[in-house]
């Protein structure tokens, strides 16, 4: 391991690329590791109509190339490798080829992959008419009849795209007639499209074909009746699953495997942040992933400054250090600060005062169990040797503690 990076980003979709751009622009040594081509799922979405500023639309691959170019233009390094595990405490990522990299912080943006249905024929006929990527495979279905399973934004949007190629697109929907989960604007367009048909209250029970898709067995979930439908292709859009197996046990995940973060994108592990589709979040779009990446990078930068500042000024200081936890929002803090300053100043260069605004740096306050402000912690050789809270803070008490240390 040659050197320590400021930020190591795992995953090169829009969340990771945005974090890389923000990190590099702040002059942080930023490494992004991506196992394939950058762009993530967004790079396999052809029509991109909802990224702000692109009213006439752009394409997923074009937008993602612009994201990557933007990040590297500020000096972010993009490396092709696959991260297989991380050590959240040491901030080390381990790659498939045996190499490892250490950072002051890690940003996890591993993304998600399409969920598979898990029915007979699905796995065997993948690439033989079963597809999860209209952009990749639409060409093959020119003038053919295809089936789409699902009814969310992706299913309806991609069905519309597929009608530019296919003879007909039949969307199999699990809900009652007329009910779709997709956004109203997408629904309206699908209902108006003469090439799109719907089959309601149904799901796919089996995909049939000898070497190539020939049909599907549909099951009506209300009547349990099954029917066969001839088709040349099946596109499955039933949501995604997060690619978080490699970080299990290192950061907290929810029951479905999504990474839990706070509003600063920090995970359960200090200094480890997350962005994008693999995070527990309300909306999974390019714009939200990009926003996550910005927040994560700025939070990571702050983490580095706080941790380095505290370590240098307090933990590695040979003299005793009085750390005053205060916040200008509490009048008592403003009142008592001159008292503390005078009491410490009396020791000249023998002791040192370090003021810590708890509003700006909650992390250190939390670590040392500081709940009331003002609180003064006395550090010597990296450890807390004494503490004074609120009314206990008097010139005499400060003098007593410092004298005992010295």
């Amino acid at each position: 391991m040659s050197s320590i990076w400021d930020i190591i980003i795992v995953g090169g979709g829009p969340g990771g690329l945005s974090a890389a751009m923000y990190g590099a622009r702040s002059k942080l040594r930023t490494l992004l590791i991506e196992k394939a081509k950058t762009g993530g799922q967004a790079a396999s979405t052809q029509d991109m109509e909802n990224y702000p500023g692109f009213a006439k639309g752009t394409t997923g691959p074009a937008l993602m190339q612009a994201f990557a170019d933007h990040a590297t233009s500020f000096g972010a390094e993009i490396m092709r490798n696959e991260v297989v595990s991380i050590d959240a405490a040491q901030k080390i990522v381990h790659c498939k080829d045996g190499s490892q990299y250490q950072g002051h912080t890690i940003i996890l943006s591993p993304g998600a992959i399409p969920r598979t249905l898990g029915v007979r024929g699905e796995q065997a006929l993948r690439g033989k008419g079963v597809s999860y990527c209209a952009t990749c495979d639409a060409d093959f279905f020119t003038d053919l009849d295809i089936v789409v399973l699902g009814n969310g934004d992706a299913a309806i949007e991609e069905s519309h795209y597929l009608t530019k190629f296919a003879n007909s697109v039949t969307i199999v929907v699990i809900h009652d007639e007329g009910v779709l989960d997709a956004a109203p604007m997408l629904q309206e367009r699908a209902f108006k499209n003469p090439k799109i048909n719907f089959i309601w209250n149904s799901t796919i029970q089996e995909i049939k074909g000898d070497g190539i898709v020939e049909g599907v067995v549909l099951r009506n979930i209300k009547t349990n009746e099954t029917t066969e439908l001839e088709t040349n292709g099946v596109f499955i859009y039933i949501g995604t699953i997060p690619l978080t197996d490699f970080i299990k046990g290192q950061v907290n995940l929810d029951s479905r495997g999504y990474i839990i973060t706070d509003e600063r994108m920090e995970t359960s592990a200090e200094g480890v942040f997350a962005a994008g589709d693999a995070r527990v979040t309300y909306l999974r779009q390019v714009v939200t992933a990009a926003a996550d990446g910005a927040v994560a990078a700025v939070a990571a930068e702050k983490y580095i400054i706080e941790e380095e500042g505290f370590a240098e000024s307090v933990l590695h200081e040979s003299r005793p250090v009085a750390v005053a936890f205060w916040t200008p929002m509490i009048p008592k803090c403003i009142e008592i600060m001159p008292v503390i300053e005078t009491a410490i100043a009396a020791y000249g260069t023998q002791a040192k005062l370090w003021k810590l605004d708890t509003y700006r740096n909650q992390r250190v306050a939390k670590r040392y169990g500081v709940v009331e402000q003002p609180t003064v912690l006395f550090f010597h050789q990296g450890v807390v040797v004494n503490r004074l809270v609120e009314d206990e803070i008097t010139p005499a008490a400060i003098k007593g503690i410092l004298d005992s240390i010295l």
Partner: protein
């Protein structure tokens, strides 16, 4: 690396002696483009033991479908005019392709 298409597929792939490895790809398939450098590296490494071809499916849709390829990327292995193995969209990586090459040369 041979560029194969509907007019030379028979001659360059089916009638060629020894192992022929064909990369079915398309210009809109990001995964295909990402895989291409690996495939080219393998073509250089094993070029004396097998023949490596690229097939752009965008202009050769019927040929691809006739080869039972309806999704990308696919790496197919031919010997004596027969398809003997195949790696589909969820399977093909540099590692799996190399393992298959070693299995069949």
């Amino acid at each position: 690396m041979f560029e194969v298409h509907k007019d030379n597929f028979d001659q360059e792939v089916l009638q060629a002696p020894g192992l022929v490895v064909v990369d079915f790809w398309g210009p809109k398939c990001e995964k295909c483009l990402a895989l291409m450098p690996d495939f080219e590296r393998l073509a250089e490494q094993y070029g004396d033991k097998a023949k490596f071809c690229k097939l752009d499916t965008s202009g050769n849709r019927r040929l691809a479908i006739a080869q039972k390829v309806m999704g990308l990327p696919v790496i197919a292995f031919y010997k004596g005019g027969e398809k003997i193995a195949e790696l589909g969209p969820s399977e093909c990586t540099a590692l799996t392709i190399e393992a298959k090459i070693q299995e069949h040369i």
